[in-house]
Amino acid sequence: MIRFKKVSKVYARGARPALDQVSLEVGRGEFVFLVGASGSGKSTFLRLVLREERPTHGSVFVAGRDLANLSQWKVPQLRRQIGCVFQDFRLLHNKNVFDNVAIALQVIGKPRHHVMTTVPETLEMVGLAGKEKRLPHELSGGEQQRVAIARAFVNRPAIILADEPTGNLDPTTSVGIMRLLDRINRTGTTVVMATHDDEIVDQMRKRVVELVDGQMVRDQDRGVYGAAR
């Protein structure tokens, strides 16, 4: 699903690379934790998959396509196959829960009846049935993150990228979010999640990829957070 071939990324001239010769393959339906200290390049990895950035060296393949050959106007097509979840939720404050999720279908031109059936279905799945009319600030942090996950998942993408989705949440709420992502993963969706949260990683026992200063130092099946320390 995602393949990195000796990918390096240098942001500013002369700075040390944010990613350094990373080669990695993530198969369909896998669940991968990306761990590493702050600044180790986790977000950079995810941005390369989304083609928000282009690699300085090496090539990135997503869903079988070489992103280097992808012309600019086809990037939206790529992104429709990828759902994103962030630490800060990134919801629209002035739109209610339903609209926040519906926007993902509206901008890609889905017909009205499709939106009307799919959105409630997805909200039901993430456990927000009955809260369609609430505004984001009327929800708890955990609920807001569920809205964000619903938005990422509503058009059934092949891949979900999550950048520290539990970073703003307390431990109890975090566990709920992890259960939800695990459930989505079981539907066959590939999930790549960057995180600092050692408890969660240790508990889930999934594949763990560790970055240190942009280099991949560990790729462990059913791994734990701190193994390399």
Binding site: Q72, W73, R90, L92, I108, K110, R151, N155
Partner: protein
Amino acid sequence: MRLQFVLSQIGNGLRRNMAMAVSVVLVTFISLTFVGAAVLLQMQVGNMKDEWYDRVEVSIYLCPPDSSVPACAGGEATEQQVEQLQDVLTSDSLSPYVEEVFLETKEQAFEAFQERFGDQDWAQRITVDQMQQSLRVSLVDPELYQVVADEVAGRDGVEEVIDQRSILEPLFLVLNRATVLAAGLAAVMIVAAVLLITTTIRLSAMSRSRETSIMRLVGASNFFIQLPFMLEGAIAALLGAVLASTGLWLGVRSIIENWLAESVRWVNFVNTGDVLVVAPLLVAIGIVLAAISSLVSLSRYTKV
């Protein structure tokens, strides 16, 4: 679903940047008003040239009895001299240039004089004899005045040859300067308008950067993201153009049709009909301005 979504985006944008949208409308309004005014002034110049250059003539003033000009030392022009001059003007060498020759007698000159100055007190005491005979020559091409003048000037009985066009030149000079002034103001204002529309779009993009980044994230196409911004600019520019057309129409109606055209009857003024011809031009300019500004600002502020 999509159209409705785009429309709601535009509504949001305009409402959020109300002050900005209003100032774009006003500045476009003023700049296009000046563009329109410049165009109308040039139409006026064209009108007047068309009308007057056709009518204007070369006037060959014939010697009066008591002229101080040396060429008239021989006293008043004789009938024979007048006939000779008419012959010269209709001769083979000049006839290609001359369209019509017409002798204005003293009586006719007196009539024209009374028509122009008749309401003045002293004019009533001017007599027919104080007037002057002249030959009025209309030319095929008014620009070739000099050919005729060279041939006729200095002949017996000719006091002075005058090209009526030269009397009109100062008027055209004023109108042309006014055009330049209006065009200059229009240019400055258009620069301001382009900068403004650019900034409006940019401001709009900035204040909606969250929405935009989220839309990009969920796979909205570039066009879909940029369309609302472009339409916002275009709507504002369009409103400005409509205001400018209305302003010009009202201006022409009140200043020219209801005032100048009443008091100065001898000029063929531009009218509200001409404004209707200029209006589509203004609208087109407004839309082009908006389009250019959109291209400039959007490529910078909402890229994927």
